[in-house]
Structure formats: structure tokens, C-alpha cells
């Protein structure tokens, strides 16, 4: 169940409302279809305008509670920043969402109907959740263009890729993303020769090519110059609305530039939620994180 006291603390009536509605909806659905999650897992249902529900998630590693009754919701089209001290459970939370780690208890839903705790990693990727890891991993020997081509949403079975060639509109899409990530001039260079910041961007571009509905970005500006960081913030702000974004970041200037709602994680659960100024003013946050 959703911890109401925590949500009250977050002082966000809208979120609480949505989460309660979602809960009702889910209970109703569960009573109908507990046995066959496959029936509804195909399409993303955003009827309550919420794209991600995490409800009462607990994950323990050898007795250490990495996540402790974590409850969190992300609205469709939202740009959310997650901050918190080291060991607060940020990466574990992303692992749960992408299927890398299974929670000991609790529920994780993508939209109204897709139960993330029952899907494998590729299935979750296919459902529309894209993740960028901390360390950029791109295909160094392929060009930036080819990296994007491979990431593109398409039929990825052998018999299709054997005969696949690019349609003009696909070429245009790749060119569009190259422009978005400012790599048009580097399109045909081997990706291994790009700068660290450019590699980060290329990986964000690969995420965009997959056309995910929800993007999870783990420290996307680590190792970028100030200028690059600023441009990345602009890119993310432009993406919000069409996509939903969850950004984990330590760089407060970057979080401020993004301007979205901020969630503070501490010891595996939500400590505070709100805009950056109100979160920074919260005495408990100052105590555990900012004041340290």
C-alpha cells in the first residue's frame, strides 16, 4: 500500500490523488486478470496520466535494505530529478525499473497495466523504458550514424536485419537525432574517436532512437564540460512533454537548470519531494544530505 504519510510530507496533493486512483484501478484490474499479465502487457496505458508507479518496494542485499518501502510515481511527460547521498538507493531503483533486480516486495508498474516485476530486461526495453548507464557504452568501431541505426526501433530478428536497408524517413530520423545531439559533423567518424561528452550524447541519441516513453538517465553529465552540461540540460527540457524523464544527478547546477520536480532519496525511501528550492529548504534534507 502507498504510504500516505510520506506522500503528505511531499506536499503534493496531485500526486497522492493520482496514486490513489492508480491503486484503485490496479486492484480492480488485478481482481480481473491476476493470472494473465500477458493479456494487457502490450500497450502502455496512460489513462491516469501516470507513467511509472513504484509502490512499497523493498530490496535487500544480505540484510542491507537498499530500498526500504520506496513509493514513487512519475507523471507522463514529467522531467524528474532524483538526488540523494551515496547509497540512498538511486541505482538500485533504476535496476528494479529495468528488470535487472527483482524487488523482495512491492509493486512496479509501467503505465496502468504493465507489471515490470514480471518482465525480462529486453522485454522492458521493448515496452518503452530506455536506460542510460553511468559509463557510456557505445560501439566504438561503428560510426555515430551506425550506432544510431542499430539502436533504431525496428524488427531486430536475424532474418530482418539480413535484408534491412534504410528507408528515406529512417535516414531523416537519424539525421534529426544527430542534429539534436549535435553530432551531424561527426556522423561518419568511428564513435571511439568522439570526446567523452560526445559519447555521452551519442548514447542519449541511441536512447532516443529506441523511441522510449520513459528515459532513465544515470548521471548523464558526468565528465562533461560546463558548456556541454548546459546544452544537455536544454536537450532534456526540450524532450520533456513528449517523453518522460527520470534523471539521477549530483550536479546541483544541472538539476537547477532542468527545473523539474526533485525527489530526495535517503536510505532507500523518499525523504522529500518538491521543487529544488523547497527541497533545499527542508531541514531534514539539509541534515542528511546538503548539510553534510
Amino acid at each position: 500500500m502507498i504510504d500516505l504519510t510520506q506522500l503528505d510530507r511531499a506536499e503534493s496533493a496531485a500526486v497522492a490523488q493520482a496514486a490513489l486512483l492508480a491503486n484503485e484501478q490496479r486492484e480492480q484490474w488485478e481482481s480481473e486478470a491476476t493470472t494473465s499479465h500477458l493479456v494487457k502487457s502490450g500497450e502502455l496505458d496512460l489513462s491516469h496520466n501516470v507513467i511509472l508507479y513504484l509502490d512499497d518496494i523493498t530490496v535487500s542485499f544480505d540484510g542491507f535494505r537498499a530500498l526500504n518501502k520506496l513509493s514513487l510515481t512519475i507523471d507522463a511527460g514529467e522531467l524528474r530529478c532524483i538526488i540523494g547521498p551515496n547509497g540512498a538507493g538511486k541505482t538500485t531503483m533504476m535496476d528494479v525499473i529495468t528488470g535487472k533486480t527483482r524487488p523482495d516486495s512491492g509493486k512496479a508498474f509501467f503505465g496502468q497495466t504493465i507489471d515490470l516485476t514480471r518482465l525480462t530486461e529486453p522485454e522492458i526495453a521493448h515496452a518503452g523504458i530506455g536506460r542510460k548507464f553511468q559509463k557510456p557504452t557505445i560501439f566504438e568501431r561503428l560510426s555515430a550514424f551506425e550506432n544510431l541505426e542499430l539502436a533504431m526501433k525496428a524488427d531486430k530478428r536475424v532474418r530482418r536485419t539480413l535484408f534491412a536497408s534504410l528507408f528515406d524517413e529512417e535516414r531523416d530520423r537519424i539525421a534529426g537525432v544527430l542534429k539534436q545531439i549535435r553530432l551531424t559533423a561527426e556522423a561518419d567518424r568511428p564513435a571511439g574517436l568522439l570526446s567523452h561528452g560526445q559519447k555521452q550524447w551519442l548514447e542519449i541519441g541511441m536512447l532516443l532512437m529506441q523511441e522510449p516513453r520513459l528515459l532513465l538517465l544515470d548521471e548523464p553529465v558526468a565528465g562533461m564540460t560546463d558548456d556541454e552540461t548546459e546544452r544537455t540540460a536544454e536537450l532534456f527540457v526540450s524532450l520533456a512533454g513528449k517523453h518522460s524523464l527520470m534523471v539521477v544527478e549530483h550536479d546541483m547546477a544541472f538539476v537547477e537548470a532542468l527545473g523539474g520536480k526533485v525527489t530526495v532519496l535517503c536510505e532507500g525511501s523518499v525523504l522529500a519531494e518538491g521543487d529544488l528550492a523547497s527541497v533545499q529548504a527542508d531541514s531534514r534534507v539539509i541534515e542528511v544530505y546538503l548539510g553534510r
Binding site: 529486453p122 568501431r141 561503428l142 542499430l150 530478428r157 535484408f163 536497408s165
Partner: protein, 400 residues
């Protein structure tokens, strides 16, 4: 709009590549047959039966090298057991050749000589249909294909990689060799198959048959090169390259590496099988030593010498090493193993990209030298050089 498949197939090989293929085809499909059949032996351009068979044998090795390069050079999977697939194709076709001997064997019996010698009264069940050419051709493809598929399925599904995979392939071919050495296995034991007489009723030692087999080998090599070129320049080839770079990331963007590896692995084995089937009638013998681990390692050496990751490199490597081998084994046979070992060490230390890599770096060095000459001249060449990303292309532009 997308480009039609045939156009893409043609475009996958560059113009210079097609020119080289055309020259190669003229040489192998016209010149060599004419030189062997039409020219009298007194003519200095006449090719002897020995030479034609030797060249035909090397063409088969080149096909094997291309197959090896597809999995090692492009997918990063080093097989040290490819001799097995080559031998399986050879044995599959050898069964047909044994049946074509008919009653002309030394015992004059319906059964192949080695079975009479073992006092067998009837063909074992797995020899059924071996008198049919079509069945033999089917087996040539199916036998290596199925063995590779089953082995690959288990190995790749268990995510066995790198040196562990290489060692297991080595063990596989060694185990198969021990199995085929046994008389009870029913493939002629350590003598294997030999004394072939005909193919589809035609004398196997006739010059026409020799030239036909030679031309078929050349055609197979050309087909392999065009197919290989298409594969590595297609999106499929880029997925292979991506798997070689970062396999887990490939999974994360939605490809299943198992299927990709399995496809190229099985295809590579089938190509080896086809080469083996053409090799056996040209050399006139197949025995279990073809499955020895040393043979499979030699295949890897050909590709390393030529330059892995380029198809032409694999072909060159197979040609260079085998020509050297026939030279050594005729003149100073005892030194061949030493030379092979020396070659492998030298290539690993000094030519990591093989002969093709050497050629490329020489050309690049010449190009940069030309570029610096041009830059020294009082023309605005440096500006042009600064704007272009590709140093080779730029230097070409500067020299032009």
C-alpha cells in the same frame, strides 16, 4: 524509398572489388582450363595436372579462410576446430565417391573395400542413399550445418566466449578425429576414403573432370566473397561488429546475440563443408588427419597472415601460406613446421593486421608524406586538410 536488394548486393562490393573478381574469374574459369586442355605439353604456358590440382586445392583452402574470417575477423569468435566442418563435408562427398567405385575395387565387391576387409556383409544404415549425388550434396551442407548448429546453440547459449570457446572447438575436432580413426565407425578408419574412380560416371582423373572441379572451386570462392561482402556490409554485419565491441549493450537495445552468432557460425561451417566436398575429389583422399587440431590451427594462421577482418586478406593469407607450404614440402620438408611457427610468431609480433594491414599502412604513410609535401608548398592546402575528417581522403585531394 529503399534501395532494392539486388542493387545493394552489387553495391556491397566496391568497383575495384568487382574488377578484381572479373580478372580472377577470367583467369580461373577461362585461362587455366584452356592452358590445361588446349595447349600441348611442350608449350611453356601449359599447366600440368599437378599444378591444376594444387591450385584447385588452394582455392578450397581460400574458401575455408573466408569462412574462418567471417566468424573470427567479423564476429570475434576464434574457432580452432574448423577443420572438422571441412572434413565432414569431405567425408559426406567421399561416401558418394566410394559408392561410385562400384565393383572396380580390389575385391570386386559391391561394398567399399574397407568394409569387405572388415568382413561386413551389408552397408551400415547411415550409408543409405550414399549412391545418390543429390543425397550426397544434401549431406555436404546438412552434416556440418547441423553439427555446428547444435554445438553453437549450447556454447553460445551458455555464453562461452573467448579462449574457452576456442579450446572447446579444439577438443571437439580432436574427439571427432579419434572417433573417425576407429574402424567400427564405418568410415574407413585411419586410411579414410581413397582410390576414387568417377563422379556421375565420368572418370575422375580425366583432364576435363579436373578442370571442372577446379572451375567449381573458383566459382564457390567467388560466391563466398560476394556473399561475405554483402553480409559484412549489411546491418547484420554491423550487429556482428557491435556484438564484438559490447555484447551486453547489444542485448539492451533489443538484439539477441545468440541468434546472430549462431547464424554466422552455422553459415561458416556450411561453407567449410562445401570446400571440403570439392577438396576431396581433387586430392583423391580424405582421412581423419584432416580433423587433427594442427590443421584447424593452420586455418587460423592463414587468416592471421592475410589480415583478419578483411575478406581479401583471408584469401591472400591462404594463398601465401599454402604456396609456401608446397614449396617447402617439395624442397626441404623437414623445415616446414619451423617456418610455420616462425611465420605465426612474426605475424603476431610485427604484422597484427596481416599482409593487408601492412599494405594499408604503407599506402597511408605514402599519402601523408605526399600531404606534407603539398602542405609545404605555398598553396592553401592546410586549410583543406583541417576541414576534412578523413586524413587519407584529404591527402588524396591535396595531391590531386
Amino acid at each position: 524509398m529503399r534501395t532494392p536488394f539486388t542493387i545493394r548486393l552489387i553495391q556491397s562490393t566496391p568497383k575495384s572489388g568487382w574488377l578484381a573478381i572479373a580478372i580472377f574469374a577470367t583467369l580461373t574459369l577461362v585461362c587455366v582450363p584452356l592452358a590445361h586442355l588446349a595447349l600441348p605439353e611442350s608449350n611453356p604456358l601449359h599447366l600440368s595436372a599437378y599444378t591444376v590440382s594444387l591450385l584447385g586445392k588452394i582455392l578450397c583452402y581460400m574458401v575455408v579462410a573466408v569462412a574462418m574470417d567471417l566468424i573470427w575477423g567479423y564476429a570475434g569468435i576464434l574457432s580452432l576446430g574448423h577443420g572438422l566442418f571441412f572434413a565432414l563435408g569431405g567425408y559426406a562427398f567421399g561416401m558418394y565417391l566410394m559408392r561410385q567405385i562400384g565393383r572396380d575395387g580390389s575385391y570386386g565387391a559391391d561394398l567399399p573395400d574397407f568394409m569387405v576387409f572388415l568382413d561386413w556383409k551389408a552397408l551400415p544404415w547411415y550409408w543409405a542413399g550414399s549412391d545418390s549425388l543429390l543425397w550426397a550434396l544434401f549431406l555436404v551442407v546438412a552434416l556440418p550445418g547441423i553439427v555446428a548448429f547444435v554445438f553453437g546453440w549450447f556454447a553460445f547459449r551458455s555464453r562461452i566466449k573467448g579462449v574457452y570457446f576456442s579450446i572447446i572447438t579444439q577438443a571437439l575436432t580432436y574427439a571427432a578425429m579419434l572417433l573417425f580413426f576407429r574402424n567400427e565407425t564405418g568410415f574407413g578408419g585411419n586410411n579414410g576414403f581413397t582410390d576414387f574412380k568417377r563422379i556421375v560416371g565420368h572418370d575422375i582423373t580425366s583432364p576435363e573432370m579436373r578442370v571442372t572441379l577446379f572451375a567449381l572451386s573458383a566459382a564457390l570462392l567467388i560466391a563466398c566473397l560476394v556473399l561475405g561482402r554483402y553480409l559484412v556490409s549489411s546491418r547484420f554485419g554491423r550487429v556482428l561488429a557491435a556484438i564484438r565491441d559490447a555484447e551486453s549493450r547489444v542485448m539492451f537495445i533489443g538484439y539477441n546475440p545468440l541468434h546472430y552468432k549462431l547464424f554466422i557460425w552455422t553459415l561458416s561451417a556450411v561453407l567449410c563443408g562445401l570446400a571440403g566436398a570439392l577438396y576431396v575429389p581433387q586430392v583423391g583422399i580424405i582421412n581423419p588427419s584432416e580433423m587433427s587440431p594442427a590443421n584447424s590451427i593452420e586455418i587460423a594462421v592463414w587468416v592471421a597472415v592475410g589480415g583478419r577482418g578483411t575478406l581479401v586478406g583471408a584469401v591472400l593469407g591462404a594463398g601465401i601460406v599454402n604456396l609456401a607450404k608446397s614449396f617447402f614440402t617439395v624442397t626441404v620438408p623437414e623445415y616446414w613446421p619451423f617456418f610455420l611457427g616462425f611465420l605465426f610468431i612474426a605475424v603476431t609480433l610485427y604484422l597484427p593486421d596481416g599482409v593487408v594491414g601492412l599494405w594499408r599502412s604503407l599506402r597511408e604513410r605514402r599519402a601523408t608524406a605526399a600531404a606534407s609535401d603539398a602542405a609545404a608548398a605555398p598553396v592553401p592546402a592546410p586549410r583543406a586538410a583541417a576541414s576534412g575528417p578523413d586524413p587519407v581522403a584529404v591527402s588524396k585531394g591535396a595531391t590531386a
